[in-house]
């Protein structure tokens, strides 16, 4: 979901740790190392990487292209390829029938059936283009806060894993407990109480 769309979803994160100076050089190097790879033309069924906010299908992290004002702005791109199960079943059945006709046999072994399935899957994977999913993010480095423009659980998990691999920094998702514990300035005593809280029963 694009940052400049009329309606967006937002998940908030806190970034734990800092990059080694010079920060812009470190950012550019890390982003280039983990830029999304195209998977059209190979048999991978998924790819995850960074892409440019303004050029999601032609990423370029040269210079400070990912800097806007005080923010780092770039995008997570996930490429997924899914073979419809019925299509896989149809092509496996066709291939099995051809194999039987060619060999003059009446049955195929389990191993042969598995080999046919793998072969058909690879052939179809090469023919079916991957679908791109692009999720923008805004990282306020000084505030150690990050807005991720998605509320999808799977996209959030990909973001957290790739962010750690790329920058060696952890992202902590801000849900009710972490928001209270990490960002609300509670005292040590209040945080101890928070830890022991149980749900309120309003209907008693």
């Amino acid at each position: 979901m694009g940052l400049l769309s009329r309606s967006v979803a937002i998940t908030r994160y806190r970034v734990e740790g800092k990059l080694k100076a010079p920060i812009l050089d470190a950012m550019a190097r890390c982003l280039k190392e983990h830029t999304i790879s195209e998977i059209d033309g190979d048999v991978s069924d998924k790819a995850v990487g960074w892409t440019s906010f303004d050029r999601p299908f032609d990423p370029d992290f040269e210079g400070s292209s990912f800097v806007i004002g005080d923010y780092f702005v770039f995008s997570l791109r996930i490429e997924k390829r899914a073979i419809p199960p019925k299509l896989l079943k149809k092509h496996c059945a066709m291939e099995k029938a051809k194999r039987l006709a060619d060999s003059g046999r009446q049955y195929l072994s389990r191993e042969e059936k598995n080999m046919i399935r793998d072969h058909v899957r690879n052939v179809l994977t090469l023919r079916i283009p991957a679908t791109p999913y692009v999720h923008d993010l805004i990282w306020s480095y000084e505030d150690a806060s990050l807005l991720f423009l998605s509320a999808q659980k799977s996209a959030g998990e990909e973001l957290e894993a790739l962010f750690l691999r790329t920058f060696n920094l952890s992202l902590i998702r801000l849900f009710p407990y972490t928001t209270a514990d990490l960002t609300m300035g509670l005292s040590g005593q209040e945080r101890d109480v928070l830890l022991k809280l149980e749900a309120t029963n309003f209907s008693e």
């Binding site: 937002i10 849900f175 209270a180 309120t200």
Partner: protein, 174 residues
Amino acid sequence: MLDVSVAYNRYKFLGYEYLTWLWFVMEKDQEKIRALAPEAVSLEIGNRIVLENKTTDAPESITITGDDAGLEEGMLALRKGAIVTELNLLLKTGEQQWQFTLKGEGLHFAGFKTPPTGPVESREDLEGAVLEKAYLCGRAIQCMDKLFKTFITLRVSEEWRRKVVPRIKQWMHA
């Protein structure tokens, strides 16, 4: 700190209680909202509330949608033990308006609409629009953070049990 996935599930109720408290404050104490967040002229319920009642053997979910939907069913559900799990909100300051759904479980925003940003025709326009959008998102988020801070400070104090919960119950059963 606790393991994140453990903390997420263990303390989901905090988000639900926050939204329930927020509805109560919007109904009974708009002045408090203005005092806490002077930038907010008003905070109102938008076009959707989702409530869940987990106190029964078969948990129930109640969804109220529509711009002019009555909230009586929601109040009835609250009286039966339901809590608010999603709340669509309208935040207004001057002539500007934000609308978003706040999800209690993860405290994330869905359908987040800010006041419109300028048109984008060049790289400079794009940077300007991004900065404007970040600023506009940030204003609403800061406002909601102030409200959450008030809630959580009350929630970890004795005042929650002694004063706030009785007032919320009184409001539910009025």
